[in-house]
Amino acid sequence: MSSDKINADKTIGGLPSPLRRKLLLGMAALPAVGLLPRGALAQALPTDAVNTTKLAVTDSTVKVGILHSTTGTMAISETGSVQAEKLAIAQINEMGGVLGRKIEVIQEDGASDWPTFAEKARKLLVEDKVAAVFGCWTSASRKAVLPVFEQYNGMLYYPTFYEGLEQSKNVIYTGQEATQQILAGLDWVTKEKGAKSFFLIGSDYIWPRTSNKIARKHIEMHGQKVVGEEYFPLGHTQFNSVINKIKLTKPDVIYASVVGGSNVAFYKQLKAAGIDLNKQTLMTISVTEDEMLGIGGENIAGAYACMKYFQSLKNPNNEKFVAAFKKMWGGESVIGDVTQAGYLGPWLWKLTAEKAKSFDVDKIAAASPGIEFTGAPEGYVRVHENHHLWSKTRVGRARTDGQFDVVFETADLIEPNPFPKGYQ
């Protein structure tokens, strides 16, 4: 089965009906997908050949790990990623798995606690010997597990847009790094709104600070002005003072990277203070459809968000993805940027394993650059030498119903540049 064919027609198939799933389980030996007898591929690729490093691979199965927080404060954000990864794995299994082997998932809970993430990563790699792990959300959790993945030579697919300044043989970054997400958005708002002055506001930790550093350089390089730059502790709920400061400085654009519960407080108080986002341009890099649920569409309608994926994207891949996601997780579910990036992980891993004809982590790492996935809901993506993805950047305008209207998308894929020269 060539990867082209997978990309062309199988990627986005729906889930099997319950009956069909039962058949698959019950009659594993019978023809399951296509007309190939199950195990034919496995025989063509014996376990000894595809697994030389004692990973948990048998003639019919391969084990992978999912490592996200399902409890604790980050469960709010990470739930969507878990759902997307499970959807992708279910779809891959329906097509016959990877190298003729069904994927079995071992899920661990990082519990929003970074040392726990490291401990669970070690467990997945050392005890369970999983072939790949899909997981982590915050940069802090990724930084905590990175030494573990490098020590035990594991493979991590990391879904969140993040601040960059990192690259590892053992990680594939399926979200955007900061320059991919930020620069195109700033250029758009400059061109479209004639923006001359910016007010940067964010939560006080590494991602907003690094992102705003890049944004500030870019703004000042183009002769525009930053009239304010403010950070608030995570969980801060009182923004009235800074809103007055915004009123005083009258920026053309409010550039927001506030996260978590603070987000809700920030937008509600902006609205209550009489700042109409249809008149005052606000661009955020931290509000996806997930966050909109808590903020309430009526409080943020009119704001612009800049990222690579919106649920409302119009393309056949995405329409099928959204339908399959809702079928599996309920019609009420929403899909944000990171959820979509989480969905890419298992697919990229499958395509890479098929190119490498192996599950060995070294071979997967070496084969990753150049892997193309045409079935991605966000559209075509490709893995770069630096293990990040080439991807487009889009600007969406928030609607009252909690979705975005896509108002701009870059013409070309943007090259990932995790160590941007001149921006640090």
Partner: protein, 308 residues
């Protein structure tokens, strides 16, 4: 930062900033009142205070969902119904908790700290299982969102005014209950000398239960009101707990007046510094000031003179 502005513009900004400080003050008082009763009067360190607030917020969420689908005509005023229900729900849970757990732990303040912290974790996970890990959006009636233009340039948020009015009403009500009613007299008697109060025929167990319930109920109302300014999620209560304890401890644990004075000091300091400095620096300086004052005056700003 003020070059190029007219005097009138600056005046408006400072007026609005003044309001911002007052709103923050009301928010702090509202958060802290329930805890001041429980911690100050009963000596119970209630780490689950934030979760009682969030229970109120979830009740408001359920109310808004229910009323908008079954009785849309009531929607503009549903908030008042929601606050009443939030008081009842949090108060009832509070009394249950007092009966099942707290009453075995009086005179052991450190154990109540651990027990209520455990309770807060349990409640968070319950919220997560029932309402989902994601934050829920509470839809507010239109008249609560937006602002009043006092003059052409001064705009005051309506929900801020609403919180201010609510805080005033609740403070007055608590004052009346605690210091002007027979029941409040009983509460104060029990807190000052439990054995003696029992000896003169006050049912101390009952007083404890209702006092704890009252404190939790007020937390529920506060949580309900904060759906206007903050988020409603399983762990949102954690956002408030630090500030709440700060206000109560700084004010002097046993004094309601102290709580109010402390809320005023902290809120004004914070909102003024936030305006002139950056947000994180303002927070650091506020906490630093509080630490220094508590070092000089460990009992807090105000202290009740009681014979020990």
């Amino acid at each position: 930062m003020f070059e190029g502005y007219s005097l009138a513009e600056l005046g408006s900004i400072f007026a609005m900033q003044g309001f911002a400080g007052l709103i923050l003050f009301s928010v702090f008082v509202l958060m802290a009142l329930g805890l001041a009763i429980i911690f100050g009067q009963m000596g119970v360190i209630n780490m689950a205070h934030g979760e009682f607030m969030i229970l109120g917020a979830y009740v408001t969420y359920l109310c808004s969902t229910f009323i908008s689908s079954y009785a849309p005509a009531l929607f503009p005023v549903y908030f008042f119904i929601a606050m009443a229900l939030a008081f009842v729900a949090s108060g009832a849970l509070g009394m249950l908790v007092e009966w099942a757990m707290i009453r075995f732990l009086y005179r052991r303040p450190l154990d109540t700290l651990l027990a209520t912290w455990g309770l807060s974790l349990i409640l968070q996970q319950v919220f997560r299982s029932v309402f989902g890990a994601r934050e829920v959006g509470v839809v507010l009636p239109d008249w609560l969102m937006g602002s009043v233009a006092v003059t052409g340039t001064i705009e005051v948020p309506i929900n801020g005014l609403f919180v201010m009015a609510l805080t005033t009403a609740i403070t007055v009500a608590i004052y009346a209950v605690m210091f002007r009613s027979r029941w409040g007299q009983g509460v104060r008697a029990v807190m000052q000398n439990r054995v003696m109060a029992g000896a003169v025929g006050i049912n101390t167990e009952k007083v404890d239960r209702y006092t704890f319930g009252l404190g939790c109920g007020i937390a529920g109302v506060a949580g309900s009101a904060f759906t206007m300014v903050g988020s409603t999620g399983p762990t949102s209560g954690q956002l408030y707990i630090v500030d709440t304890f700060l206000v109560v401890v700084f004010g002097g644990a046993q004094s309601l007046i102290g709580t109010i004075a402390s809320a005023f000091t902290i809120s004004q300091a914070q909102s003024t510094m936030e305006f002139f400095l950056s947000g994180s620096t303002a927070k650091v300086l506020t906490l630093l000031t509080v630490v220094v004052i508590l070092m000089l005056r460990p009992q807090g700003l105000f202290v009740l003179k009681v014979r020990r």
